[in-house]
């Protein structure tokens, strides 16, 4: 977790408690455009009934969010701002235009909001409710009926699938994935059907979501058929062509099946203290992330504590002393026990890589699997001759 996140976490964990003014001044100076921080501060002011000051900061958070292409966050900030004072028609029109001007292709959620008409977006905004969870809090249990959709504003949730194995009494997780900002969950469409959660969801970090209840959304869709069309498209995004749910955290870069040794340092949530060091091998690798099989000595039961943790990985390029260091987050973890192997697999999403590291990794990946293998095996045999 980086410094920004840990400061914001402190605010969110201690909602309503302001730091001493001099400390806060320094923090705001250091992160003047951090939306999470601005929102947390504005919420604190709002709780102290300092409405004008809060409104100004909500407005700033909304502006920065729009500029960064974060439509959901902008909507939430605007919604908070307008709780303090009624918006004028021109303000409403300007905000609608700003949402429509964001890149519709940047993510499905932005497309969902950006395609709403003027009256539709504000009707939808009126039904959204902000919710917060502390880390470790369970959001939904496997088997619970799904009766709302939730849009993740900030934080990371663990989605744990699994069940009771034969002869066992305890729920065993076999796959954990992460849900992060601008993702959403809650299977409620078609509205006539009843859906039950196939997984347990819990907050891995402090989490903020925007909720809209199924019954309210159904009514809204009755009034605004375009919202239903857009919502159906959004629901379809989560389903593959076979109708099965697709995995979250689809990596933006192409993956290459190149086995590469990795030395991994895993950190505690919320600070930089090292939880453990472990060795692994990449199952696939890209400039955006990696799937890593951890050393078999690693405890197989650790999946539940891993997701959401920050890591530092050193990729050891074969036959050479060259090491590539990357920082990232564990976004899913899976036990290997059901497959008869010890250990576990984890999915890592890298932070943005420095350009030289990205170039090195891209070159390493892009020679193609067949070529890579041929180069390495030829080298191994020819250099000994």
């Amino acid at each position: 977790m980086n410094l920004n996140d840990s400061i914001v976490s402190r605010f969110m964990e201690n909602s309503g408690i302001l730091p001493p003014p001099e400390e806060f001044g320094k923090i705001m100076e250091a992160f003047p455009e951090h939306v999470g921080l601005l929102m947390a501060f504005a919420d604190s002011l709002f709780a102290k009934r300092k409405f004008n000051a809060a409104a100004g900061i909500y407005a700033k958070a909304s502006r920065i969010s729009i500029k960064s292409g974060l439509v959901l966050q902008a909507i939430l900030a605007k919604q908070c701002e307008w709780k303090t004072s009624e918006p004028s028609q021109s303000e409403l029109e300007a905000f609608h235009a700003a949402i429509g001007g964001t890149a519709k292709n940047s993510n499905p959620l932005n497309a969902f909001f950006a395609q709403m008409a003027f009256s539709e977006i504000f009707a939808f905004m009126n039904k959204l409710k902000r919710l917060r969870l502390s880390s470790g809090e369970v959001f939904i249990n496997a088997g619970d009926e799904e009766n709302a959709i939730f849009f993740v504003v900030s934080g990371i949730l663990r989605r744990i699938t699994g069940g009771k194995m034969e002869g066992q009494t305890e729920f065993k997780s076999d796959m954990i994935s992460a849900i992060g900002a601008n993702d959403w969950f809650g299977d409620i469409y078609p509205f006539e059907k009843h859906f039950y959660s196939p997984y347990k969801l819990e907050a891995a970090t402090p989490v903020e979501v925007a909720e809209i209840e199924k019954s309210k959304l159904k009514n809204l869709c009755g009034q605004y058929p375009n919202i239903e069309l857009l919502f159906r498209n959004l629901s379809d995004c989560k389903k593959s062509s076979t109708g099965k749910k697709i995995l979250h955290t689809v990596r933006k870069a192409r993956r290459y099946q190149i086995p590469t040794s990795v030395d991994l340092k895993i950190f505690h949530l919320g600070d930089r203290k090292e939880l453990s060091s472990v060795k692994g091998i990449t199952k696939d690798l890209s400039t955006a992330g990696a799937c890593i099989s951890l050393d078999e000595n690693y405890l197989a039961g650790a999946v539940q504590v891993l997701v959401g943790r920050r890591i530092k990985a050193e990729l050891v390029l074969p036959g050479d002393n060259l090491r590539i260091t990357v920082l990232g987050t564990i976004v899913w973890a899976k036990n290997m026990l059901p497959t008869g192997k010890r250990g576990l697999e984890i999915g890592i999403e890298f932070d943005n890589l420095p350009s030289d590291t990205a170039e090195l990794l891209r070159n390493y990946c892009q020679a193609g699997n067949g070529e890579q293998q041929l180069i390495l095996s030829l080298w191994e045999s020819l250099r000994k001759q």
């Binding site: 070159n363 067949g370 890579q372 180069i375 020819l382």
Partner: protein, 323 residues
């Protein structure tokens, strides 16, 4: 290669009585990875050509990190390629400066080019065209690291395309990736007027493409099926024109041969590319010391194994017909 220099000299003799003109042969030194020794090798190749009595220009085209003047012991070159690009000097001849080595001139590079504008293809053509007008027999281009279009285009425009590796798997992988990118860049450029073929090549560049085209051989089969055998033959002949020279730098024992053999085998199998092993240059700590002390590499002369090794490489490059 200038096997018949005298004929070219007489053909290019200008009628207005100006000094005799050569038709220079351009050698480009490239390779994927930084640190393989491209700049050192370029400098030493140019040095040996000059010592052999051949009028030579060493041009620093490492647009992001021009430094070759330092390897020749020149701290602050008075003029550079940037002056030509910025039109402060109308001819490349005017940005060429003499060095301490007889017959060897230098066109110093500049990072100014990168900041003012990345040269577009037409500018690259202009640079190459003007390089060819220089009054020299050989022009050695030191290209930057990586596989950017700038680097690939200058590499592909040269008469002799030299790829430098060091004997480590990562360097071999990068050297191969560089040649792979060069092949696809050349094909893509050759087919730029042909939308279908151009798209096909764009798809095939990705080693894990959905068409399952994994090699140039497979690509040519698809081309033959879609556009006939003529198109296939045309693309094949374009690849045959590339014929890169492989030089392994900083070698020990037989690692040079092994590194080159790996690249040759993989190039042949996956790219139908006939790469030629030109030789290797041994690791020499004197080079590292000279670079560190900012002493001219050319002063090392026969005391350095690497300098001597580069002589053999230069001779092999002169002898080998890449046509």
């Amino acid at each position: 290669m200038n096997t018949n220099s005298s004929a070219k000299i007489s053909r290019l003799h200008e009628p207005n009585g100006k000094p005799q003109q050569y038709e220079p042969e351009i050698w480009a030194v490239g390779g994927g990875k930084g640190g393989a020794g491209k700049s050192v090798l370029s400098t030493l190749l140019a040095y040996w050509l000059a010592k052999m009595g051949k009028k030579t220009v060493l041009a620093d085209l490492d647009l992001g990190g021009a430094n070759i003047h330092t390897l020749l012991g020149i701290r602050n070159p008075q003029t550079s390629l940037g002056d030509f690009i910025a039109k402060r000097k109308p001819a490349l001849e005017e940005v060429s400066i003499n060095t301490q080595v007889e017959n060897l001139s230098l066109i110093s590079g500049t990072s100014e080019i990168l900041t003012s504008a990345n040269p577009v293809y037409a500018q690259k053509i202009k640079i190459i065209r003007n390089l060819r007008r220089l009054n020299a027999e050989y022009i050695v281009l030191d290209l930057g690291a990586g596989s950017s279009y700038n680097v690939l285009d200058f590499f592909l425009m040269a008469d002799k395309k030299i790829t430098v590796l060091s004997p480590q798997p990562t360097s071999i992988q990068n050297g191969y990736a560089f040649l792979r990118n060069a092949v696809y860049r050349k094909l893509s450029f050759a087919c730029k007027q042909h939308e279908f073929l151009n798209n096909l090549i764009d798809i095939a560049v990705d080693p894990q493409n959905q068409l399952k085209v994994r090699t140039i051989g497979e690509l040519l089969t698809v081309v033959a099926e879609s556009n006939g055998n003529g198109a296939r033959q045309k693309l094949k002949s374009i690849i045959e024109q590339i014929r890169p020279a492989i030089v392994t730098n900083m070698t020990s024992k037989n690692t040079g041969k092994a590194a080159s053999a790996v690249v040759q085998t993989v190039c042949q199998k996956y790219l139908l590319l006939d790469a030629v092993n030109i030789g290797s240059v041994g690791y020499d700590k004197l080079i590292a010391q000279a670079v560190s002390n900012m002493a001219p590499l050319t002063e090392l002369q026969q005391s350095s194994e690497a300098v001597l090794g580069t002589y053999d490489v230069a001779q092999n490059l002169l002898k080998t017909n890449f046509g």
